[in-house]
Amino acid sequence: MSNETKADARRGRAASFLGGHWIYLFLALEIIYFSLRTGSFASLNALQILLYYGVQVFLLSMAELFVIVTGGIDLSVGYVLGFASIISIKLMEWLGPLGLGEPLTVLIGVCATLAVGLIPGLVNGWLVAYLKVPPFIATFAMLGVCHGVSELIINGVYAMGLPKLAADIGSGHFLYVTKGVPPSFFSRPVVDRGVKVLEIVPDIVVVTAVVVGIFAFVLARTRFGRHVYAIGGNIDAATRSGIPVKRRLLGVYALSSFLASLAGIVYAFMYVSGKADGGASLLLDAIAAVVIGGASLFGGTGTVLRTMIGALILAVLDLGLRMAGTPTFDKYIMVGVILIFAVVIERYMPEARK
């Protein structure tokens, strides 16, 4: 190789590296910026708030990632979240008087909601894979249906009546550290007034982390995940290689709906109420997180880790702006700009394919 081409290759590799990893740099800079701007930003407390309120976006963006990797999109996740939040509370309300005891009520309620929450996804998947309806339309239709059904169920009133256990989980933490008392898990120690209790890692963050870990593994290391990438890369080649494309697509949309339902249940636990449009504004964030994380809307690329970084970038932005006292209006503008920026970088400094 001549000297020029060697230099070109080096430059190409550097650009490629930067293109693939700019999100880490950006996140770090963001954190530094906001820490300088507001002293209390760089604190355990702020971190926990960040993760706690970001849970829905983490789950929704992971849901969206799976679908986007296949080259599709799922516009219904926001309203599936709302739907699940309502159903979970209604179910537990209904189970309550049966006297099963709180733990069982909550467990059954959660499982039943997750089961019901698969339905929107299965319908989406069926429409996309078997009827060949474009994902945009199919999931948009489902968005409307979920919205309608949710509103019909609650009939204009907020759903309430969550068992106390659920609310406790929603606001509880994994670890409590108090001076002079042995650390306790999951349950808040009873202390005298004025004694400080250090709360570490909210329960729902733990749950989310576990779920994210599981699905990251599924996407990266299982045959299912491999097939998902293949479908997004070249659907014809995937079909011809014997991959059961239709079943996989069904699975992907069901998975998306499952995660959205989980997010809805978490929402219910956190806010002790269900709201039909509770997730409406989160759709943008979810898709933005995936795109910022480097996945292509045409499918075939993207990882859970990157998507989570993308979601973190948005969460940090949100919290940072709030703590700095800037009106959240700016947030929308910035998200829009970052989104476009992310895609442009991807185009000009594409990451070398594995």
């Binding site: 429409l127 009827l131 339309i137 449009d277 209006f329 829009g336 989104l339 476009i340 185009r347």
Partner: protein, 362 residues
């Protein structure tokens, strides 16, 4: 391929006939008529001049957005930012009027100036969209989603999250004015309520032809003409049909696309201004409004394909009417409006399936 072939097979015989094809290509209009029939039975007040006029009057914005979206979708793109550009225009118009009034201009001057200014300004989001899409090759979905956020943020900033009031009262009068006012058996007056007519007696008045009707008909007619009979329209279809063919035929695709997105955002701006006239205030667009989604739904129900190459202005207008009268009919019949969402979902899927079975329908 299973879904379509099965459906096509069973319905095959009928659908091959001329009537079958005619029905399928105009299914949205047929559905509209069907709805009219059903709703006039379920509710006494559905089939009334007042109701119809009211619905159409309120659809002015959706008509404008759907028309703009039609152009964009035909090129194979999509514009998710229109709802928020509308809000931005509404807010900017209100702000501008407020500022000019405070600076001492008359109501007419400040309104006229603001209108002109905001109209020109509303080309900007479209310009940005178009440039980002063509120069940076950002997919339209993302680019307009980005603008979605930016326009929304700007609108919120300018309005501080509150509706902007303090505008001349004449505005909603014009915005909601009718061409003809008839007091049955007594008199007829044109362009404005009869002088000295008490507002308390307004229900006795028969109002015909809201200003918005000729306005929207004119705009739609111009756009339909542009799409069907000008080079611009022809090239729009060509780009949607085969971008390579368009490029190789010497069409400057990039410039054209920018033009299409500018058109879309101009129409959204027009809609925002119209909103100020209708409501008398300037307001940002809430997330719930989902203007852009309904515009896109209307266009798809009207027969366009998201892949591009198909679509018509009047068909999209029918799509808007289908969605509007669906909601109206359900509300008037006392049915929970939330069924509307479900119905829209089903309609969309039907639209797409029909499109798949008959890809050649014009």
């Amino acid at each position: 391929m299973n879904g379509q072939s099965a459906a096509a097979g069973t319905a095959g015989g009928f659908l091959e006939t001329r009537t079958g094809r005619a029905l399928a290509s105009n299914w949205a209009a047929c559905f509209l008529i069907l709805m009219f029939a059903v709703f006039s039975l379920t509710s006494g007040s559905f089939l009334s001049v007042a109701n119809f006029q009211n619905v159409i009057h309120l659809q002015t914005l959706p008509f404008l957005l759907a028309a703009g979206e039609t152009f964009v979708i035909i090129t194979g793109g999509i514009d998710l930012s229109v709802g928020f550009v509308t809000g931005l225009a509404s807010v900017c118009a209100a702000k501008s009027i407020q500022v000019l009034l405070a600076a001492g201009m008359t109501a007419t001057q400040s309104v006229a100036l603001s209108l002109a200014g905001v109209l020109v300004l509303s080309a900007l989001p479209g310009l940005v969209n178009g440039l980002v899409i063509t120069k940076f090759r950002v997919p339209p979905f993302i680019a307009t989603m980005g603008m979605w956020g930016i326009a929304n943020g700007l609108a919120l900033k300018i309005s501080n999250g509150f509706p902007m009031t303090g505008l001349p009262d004449k505005l909603p009068e014009i915005g909601n004015g009718y061409l003809v006012y008839i007091l049955p058996g007594q008199f007829v007056s044109f362009l404005s309520k009869p002088v000295g007519f008490a507002n308390s007696r307004i229900r006795e008045l028969l109002r015909l032809l809201p200003y918005s009707l000729p306005f929207i008909l004119l705009v739609l007619a111009i756009l339909a003409f542009a799409l069907k009979r000008t080079r611009f329209g022809r090239h729009t279809y060509a780009i949607g049909g085969n971008v390579d063919a368009a490029v190789r035929s010497g069409i400057s695709v990039d410039r054209h696309l920018v033009g299409v997105y500018v058109l879309s955002s101009l129409l959204a701006g027009m809609g925002g201004i119209f909103n100020v006239f209708q409501t008398g205030i300037g307001n940002y667009t809430t997330f719930n409004a989902q203007y852009e989604f309904f515009a896109i739904a209307a266009v798809v129900i009207g027969g366009a394909s998201l892949a591009g190459g198909k679509g018509r202005i009047w068909s999209s207008a029918v799509g808007v009417l289908v969605l509007a009268f669906l909601e109206n009919g359900l509300a008037i019949s006392g049915v929970q409006p939330f069924y509307r969402y479900i119905a829209v979902g089903v309609l969309l899927v039907v639209a797409v399936v029909i499109d798949k079975i008959f890809p050649d329908l014009r």
